[in-house]
Symmetry: D2
Subunit: 284 residues, 4 copies
C-alpha cells in the first residue's frame, strides 16, 4: 500500500487522453496496476482512475507530479493524486443511534478503512464509552437551537486542528448549516434511511410502512445545501412485507444503513468517487 | 388442484376467529392444507388465507358455504371462497412493448398461471402474431384522443362477454378512465417501471439516470383512480451504475418488469392478496 | 412480550389438527396473534407455530398446558411451549475473529435478540475487552490437542452452571466433540463461511477464489456430528468478480456471516425453527 | 456500433503495456471510448479490454492491425480484435424445455444480443414453431445412444456451413462429445440449474430440496470436457424456503436460468470475457 498511488482525473472528452496519461506514468517508470475509465457521451466528459506502483519510479514524486500537471493543463483536467502511505483523517458525527458508529469503528479496527479516525463528535454523551473502547478521541458537543452556531464552530475548530479530510454523519440527527457544508464540498458523507428519492425527510420507515412498499432501502450520499438531495454514492434494498411493523423496518434498515454507509466511506477513502452534474462516478 | 379451495378472510380482530373457521371446516370434513394469518395491531384487523382439501368433505359445497357464511356474519367478515377447478379469465392489455406480454404468455403456457388468458387487447396491431402464436384471441382497438371513450367501451364489451375477472396492463401505454377503473376494484394490475413512490409519471428510467441512483426498480400495483398510487403488490430492484445509459436501464428494467408483473398476477390468481388502507397483505 | 406465548408443533398430518389446537387455546381464553403452518406432503408431516396472548386467559397456565398436552397426545405431537417473559440464556464461543462476536453483542444491546448472553467463551484472550465492554462475563479456555477434552469439560460446566439453552459458534475455530454436540441437539448454531454444500471444510474463500465463482455465500446451521452437514437455517450470497482477491472475499464474507448468523440466532430465540429430515422449517 | 471496435488482450504483466496499447491506438487516430483492465498479481497476468472509435482513424484497419500485432509480439500478447459491424453467428441447442430458448429469441428480437441467430437445433420437434415464430431456421436432429455420433456430425456440418461462432446450450439435455467440445474452446456456453459447485450432475433442484438449502442458484459456464466444471461466467441465486416443493424450485429456477444464460451470451458477444486458469475475467 505504501508504494501505491491513485490518480483521479476528470476532463472534457478528447482523443489522446488515455495515451498521454499512460505515457507520462510510463516515462517516469511507474507501473500501472489498475485503471478504470468512463466517458459520459451525453456530457462529453472523460473520467479515469489509475492506480500505479511507485516502487519502480525512475525519477521522483516531484518530477512525476510535474509531468502529470503538464498533461493536466493540456487537457483541462481536474486531477487529484493520492499516495497510499498518506492516511486521511476522518471525523465521525453520531447521535443516540449507535449502530453505524459501531460498524465504522469495527471495520476501522479490522483494517477495512484506509484512514485514521481522528475523533468521534456527538451531541449526546452516550457514545463516549464506544469511542473509548476503540481508542478514538471523543468530543461531546451538545446542540440546542440557541447554541447551534456555536456548537458547529467548536466542531469546526476540532476538525481543523486535527486536519480532518472527511466528515461522516453516522446517523447524526442534526442538520448541518449551509456554511459548514460549503467548507467541505464532496467531503461530508451522510446515510439516509430510505431508498432516495423516495421518502425524503423525517421518519422514512414510517412513511414506508404507511405506503406499504415491499422493499425498504438506504442511501449514502455527499451532503449538499439541499437536504437529502446530494450526489448518491451507494444504495441497497431489502425485502419487507405486511408482517413488518415500523420497528421491524427499523431493525432491517439498520443492517442496510451500516453496509451502505461503510461502502461509501470506503469508496471515498480509496479515491473511487468523482462527482459531476449532481451525481457520482464510482469506480469499483 | 381440482379438489382444493382457498378461503380469504378479513375482519375486525377478535378472539375466536381462528378456532371458529377451523371448526367449521373440520365439521364439514375439509382438511386444511395450508393456512396463513396476519393481524394488523394498529388497524385492529385480522386477515387469513386457508387452503383446504375438498376431497374429504362429508357434506357438500352448499352446506360448507352456508357454514362459512354463518361464521362470517358472526365476525363481520369480508370473505371470498375460490375453488381450484374454477379457472379465472384474464385479459392482457398491451401496446408496442412486447416483453411483458411474451413473458405472461410463456408462463401461461408453462402452467405457471392458474387462469385462462381470454384475450389480448392492444392499441397497436403488432402484438397480433404473438397472441396467435400462443393461440390466444387478439383484439386490435386503436385509441386516439377522440376515440378513447369509444375504445374503452368496446374493450369493456369484449371483457364482459368473455366474463373476464382480471385485467393485466402489460406495459399498456394508455391511461384508463376513472369509470373503467371503478368497474374493476382490485382487479386491474399494472406494472410501473420504477421503485414507487420514486419516479412517478413518465420516463422513470430517464429520471433515474438524471438522478444518478445506484439501483433501479419496478413495481406492480392495483390500479386506482390515482395514477401510480394504487396498492403495491410486488417490487424488485437491480443494481446500476454510472456506466448504464438510459438504454441500459431500459434493458435491465425489462427483466424486473417481467418478474414483478408476473409475480403479482400469480399472487392474485392464487388468492394471496388482500387490500386494505391503500396497501396489500400478500400471503406467500 | 411478557404476555405472549409461542407454541411450536410437529406431528403426522391428519384432519382436525388446526381446529383442535385453535379450540383448546380459545377454550382457555387465549387470543391467537399469529399462526403459521406448513404441511410436507412428501413426508406427511404437519408443522405449526402459534403465537398467542396470555393476558386474556380465563384459566391459568397449568390448565392451558394440560389442555395442550391432551391434544398433543391425541395427535402424537412433538410440541414446545415458550413464554415470552422467559429469556433464554445463550453462550457465545469465539476465537480470534471478532466480527460475529461484536455483531451479536451489538444486536443484543439494541434489543434485537430476546435472550440473555450469559457468557462469552474463547480459546484466545483477545475477546475479553469486547465482552467487558458489553458487560458480559468472559471465560478464556485455551484449547490444545492435549487439553481439548478437558477444555470442553470446563466449558460444559460453565454452561450447565449458567443454565445455558443455546450455544452460538461465532467463528469459533475449534471442532466440538461428538459428545458435546450430542448434549445440545438443535441447540448449537454455527456459521460456515460458504454457500453450503459448496466449499465444505477449510478455507472456503480460497476455494471460491480458485474456482472463480461469481457469488460467495454464508450458511448458518445447527451443528451435528457431521461437520458442516447440519440442518441449514439461513443462507445469503453476495456478488464477487475477478477483481476480488481472497482478502476481498474475506471482507465481503464478513458482512454475510454477521447477518446470516444473527438471523439464525434470532429465529431460534423466537421459536421459529423446527428440524426434521436433516433440514429446517423456519416460520418467518 | 458500426464504427466501434473492441480489443481484448491477455499477457504476462510488465511495465508499459497500457502506454504501448494506448499509444498505438492514438497514433492511428482511434479514440478510446472505454477501457477496463485487470492484473492478477498471483498469476502475474495482465488483461485489458479497450473499446475505441474507428471513425476518426487517420490510417486504415490494415495499418492499425499491423500496429497492434507489433505491440502484441513485443509483450507476448494473446489478443483479439472485433469490429462492431461484424455480427457473429450463434446456434442455439434446445430440448423440450423452452424457457431459455424463448428468452434468448425475445432478447435477440429486442436487439439485446449483438448477433445473428443462425439456427436452432433440437433433438425434439417441439421447438420448431418457436423458431419459426422468430424467423429463425430450425433443424430437428434426434439423438439416441446409437445415433449420437452421427447426430453430432450432422450438427457440426450445419454449424460449419453457417459459419457459427458460438454454440448456446439452452437447457439442451444431451452431453456433447469431447471431440465436439474440443472444436469450440470457450465458444460453447451452457446453463446449469444450480449454484455450482453445489449440486453438480442430474436433478439439482431435487438435490437442493433434499438438502433443504435456503437459496437456489443457476450458473452459466463455458463447456469443457469435464461436465459442469468449465469456467463460470455468471451466477445468481434466489431465496427459497420449506414451502417450496421441487416444482416450485423448478419454477423459480427458470427465472434464474433465463437471466444467467442471457447475461453470459451477451458478455461473450460483447467481447467482455477472457478465460484463464479455469476461470473467467468478465469486464462489465
Amino acid at each position: 500500500m505504501d508504494r501505491v498511488a491513485t490518480l483521479l482525473v476528470a476532463c472534457p472528452d478528447r482523443k489522446g487522453i488515455v495515451a498521454s496519461l499512460a505515457q507520462v506514468l510510463y516515462g517516469h517508470g511507474a507501473n500501472i496496476l489498475d485503471s478504470d475509465q468512463h466517458t459520459d457521451p451525453v456530457a462529453a466528459l472523460f473520467f479515469q482512475r489509475i492506480r500505479f506502483d511507485l516502487s519502480t519510479l525512475t525519477t521522483d514524486k516531484v518530477a512525476l507530479e510535474h509531468g502529470i500537471k503538464e498533461v493536466g493543463e493540456r487537457f483541462q483536467m481536474d486531477w487529484r493524486l493520492a499516495y497510499g502511505h498518506h492516511k486521511r483523517k476522518i471525523a465521525i458525527f453520531a447521535s443516540k443511534q449507535e449502530h453505524c458508529l459501531y460498524d465504522l469503528l469495527i471495520r476501522y479496527r479490522a483494517g477495512e478503512l484506509a484512514c485514521e479516525v481522528a475523533m468521534v463528535i456527538s451531541n449526546h454523551p452516550d457514545a463516549e464509552p464506544i469511542a473509548r473502547h476503540f481508542d478514538v478521541p471523543f468530543h461531546h458537543i451538545p446542540v440546542t437551537a440557541a447554541t447551534k452556531a456555536e456548537a458547529e464552530e467548536k466542531a469546526c475548530e476540532l476538525i481543523a486542528a486535527a486536519n480532518v479530510d472527511l466528515i461522516v454523519l453516522a446517523r447524526y440527527m442534526q442538520i448541518l448549516s449551509a456554511e459548514l457544508v460549503a467548507k467541505f464540498p464532496s467531503r461530508i458523507i451522510n446515510i439516509h434511511h430510505s431508498f432516495l428519492p423516495a421518502f425524503v425527510g423525517a421518519n422514512p420507515y414510517r412513511q414506508a410502512y404507511v405506503k406499504g412498499v415491499k422493499l425498504i432501502g438506504a442511501t449514502s450520499h455527499y451532503v449538499t445545501a439541499d437536504l437529502d438531495q446530494g450526489p448518491i454514492i451507494e444504495q441497497a434494498t431489502i425485502r419487507c412485507s405486511h408482517r413488518d411493523s415500523v420497528d421491524d423496518l427499523v431493525r432491517k434498515g439498520r443492517d442496510l444503513e451500516k453496509r451502505v454507509l461503510a461502502a461509501a466511506v470506503r469508496y471515498h477513502l480509496e479515491d473511487r468517487i468523482l462527482v459531476y452534474a449532481g451525481k457520482t462516478v464510482v469506480f469499483d
